[in-house]
């Protein structure tokens, strides 16, 4: 991880998802919406999910933040929409996020990456 051209946060996938996410927005009637803040930088993130019979039918995220937190949120929402099955989504963990991002993170940037996962975990506690 030294020179240009290796994987870092200027990777195309991070730039695309971090700046032009197709999943950015708010839902009209979400089953659950959760907002979380990163105490380190004050960035905030909101995740909206609509669920019908244990299947995710729609999801998106909103908020301001660094490339890592925005890209991780976008990729995670994309994965939620791909998997759909709520029980499988409940099993998402830190590894899921790291795999989606595909870049190595320093300790402090890990917090940025996991903000959306923490929001998702909080959402599962609220879902009836």
């Amino acid at each position: 991880m030294t020179e240009e051209g290796t994987m870092d946060l200027t990777q195309e996938i991070i730039l695309q998802h971090g700046r032009l996410s197709p999943y950015k927005g708010k839902l009209e009637n979400p089953t659950v919406k959760v907002k979380l803040e990163n105490p380190l930088c004050g960035d905030s993130l909101r995740v909206d999910i609509r669920i019908v019979k244990d299947q995710v039918v729609d999801a998106c995220f909103s908020g301001e933040g660094c490339l890592i937190s925005q890209a991780a949120a976008s990729l995670l929402v994309g994965e939620i929409l791909r998997v759909k099955n709520l029980n499988k989504i409940k099993k998402f963990n830190e590894e899921t996020v790291f795999k989606l991002l595909g870049i190595s993170l320093t300790l402090s940037r890990t917090q940025c990456a996991l903000l959306s996962l923490r929001a998702l975990k909080k959402a599962f506690k609220i879902i009836p």
């Binding site: 030294t2 870092d8 930088c41 004050g42 960035d43 490339l67 890592i68």
Partner: protein
């Protein structure tokens, strides 16, 4: 000089380390590292407790640093109290002076540019001491240049017990006119605490000339080890104050029923102190004094002037704080339009450049500026113009890489 700093020999991501975060903590020269190691290796014993030779030697060395600190800031040694850091020094004042003097109706003046360490202890003190504390705290604002707005100071000072103000802002870099503020504060009978964490390491500070009542700073920002801070208190005030923590080392006589306390400064230093840390601070002061504090300031002023000139040429880069180097210390906070400070810092790190990103423990001033964080570079004696060239080059590269691309 850089050969004195072993940490600078290493490579970060294959690049030579460029350290631009001295406002957070400074690097340590081998003279300091050696002094700490030598102390531990050859004479460390507890201070003020032993009759044997090693303890005498440790006590002598430890107390000689009190003298060095006093000389550095033009004070008397018995006015120098060793603490853990600046934060603990301010908490000490908030507790021992604050609890006796801040009562219902008391007013404290702070500024919007305070570090959390010179804000939270006062908030907490007022929360505990009085109800409806909002009216009790008067906040000095900044103007568009990032300087303190003192236009209404006389009015604001009415009925004030304490002014707690930073000497140099750790975000804006602004050097505040603490001498003038102190003169005005004293006219209404208020005491003045100055947070010198960003001043003492970088310029000549004379507490007598400033005239303030409390002055605090940290050893780790001035080439010393972490874990040692300094609280300077005017003798006549210190004598009247109750002790801070209680226990060993701060007493004159103890029976099972009651205790009489030692004189200042010892009554504020309960328990075994950070002996090797204090010894290290002594070596750090020797190092700085050999260079001369005026030279240190000159060097940083030149770096700041150069950096301000170079950085202001980067399109889309906003610098916070005064535009003139003589009005500021070697601290520059900035933002690149549309790029999050954490991303800037991560990418600078790829080039081996260490900077701070976020709020720098000063959220209120960021809220005042209407920004959600900033990137901060800060300079010290080991930095060079070349470091700034590397920073500017890397920032230009980051801008190119992260400039908005729509496919």
């Amino acid at each position: 000089m850089n050969k004195d700093f072993p940490i600078l020999k290493q490579k970060i991501n294959g690049k030579n380390l460029v350290y631009l975060d001295s406002a957070a903590t400074s690097l340590k020269p081998k003279q300091v590292i050696e002094a700490v190691a030598d102390c531990c290796r050859s004479y460390l014993a507890n201070v003020h407790r032993g009759i044997y030779q090693l303890s005498e030697k440790s006590t002598q060395e430890y107390e000689s640093v009190r003298g060095k600190v006093a000389k550095l800031i033009n004070a008397s040694p018995d006015e120098v109290i060793f603490t853990k850091n600046t934060t603990e020094a301010i908490n000490l004042v908030a507790k021992v002076w604050g609890e006796a003097n801040i009562t219902k109706g008391s007013k404290i003046i702070l500024s919007v540019m305070e570090h959390h360490s010179n804000l939270v202890p006062w908030q907490e003190l007022m929360r505990q001491q009085v109800t409806g504390n909002r009216q009790q705290r008067v906040v000095l604002d900044i103007n568009d240049k990032g300087e303190l707005d003192l236009s209404d100071l006389d009015n604001k000072l009415k009925g004030v017990s304490l002014v707690a103000i930073t000497h140099v802002s750790n975000v804006l870099g602004t050097i505040n006119p603490v001498k003038e503020i102190t003169q005005k504060a004293h006219q209404v009978g208020a005491l003045v605490l100055v947070d010198g964490a960003q001043a003492v390491p970088h310029m000549k500070v004379d507490v007598k000339k400033l005239g303030c009542d409390f002055y605090v700073f940290s050893g780790h920002k001035m080439l010393g080890p972490s874990g040692v801070g300094v609280l300077w208190v005017k003798k006549e005030i210190a004598d009247k104050l109750p002790p801070f923590l209680t226990g060993g080392g701060m007493v004159s006589e103890v029976t099972l029923e009651k205790t009489s306390f030692a004189e200042a400064p010892h009554k504020f230093e309960a328990g075994t102190p950070n002996i090797e840390g204090v010894i290290g601070l002594g070596a750090a002061i020797d190092y700085l004094q050999k260079l001369g504090m005026d030279k240190v300031r000159q060097h940083e002023k030149a770096l700041t002037e150069y950096a301000l000139k170079k950085l202001s040429k980067i399109d889309g880069l906003t610098i916070y704080g005064p535009k003139e180097e003589e009005k500021r210390g070697g601290i520059i906070a900035f933002n690149l339009a549309g790029i999050h400070p954490h991303d800037v810092a991560s990418l600078l790190d790829k080039d081996g450049i260490a900077v701070r990103a976020g709020f720098h423990c000063a959220m209120p001033v960021h809220q005042r500026l209407g920004i959600n964080g900033s990137t901060r570079v800060s300079f010290y004696i080991y930095n060079s113009m070349e470091d700034i060239d590397k920073l500017v080059q890397s920032l230009e590269k980051i801008k190119r890489k992260l400039s908005f691309r729509v496919k």
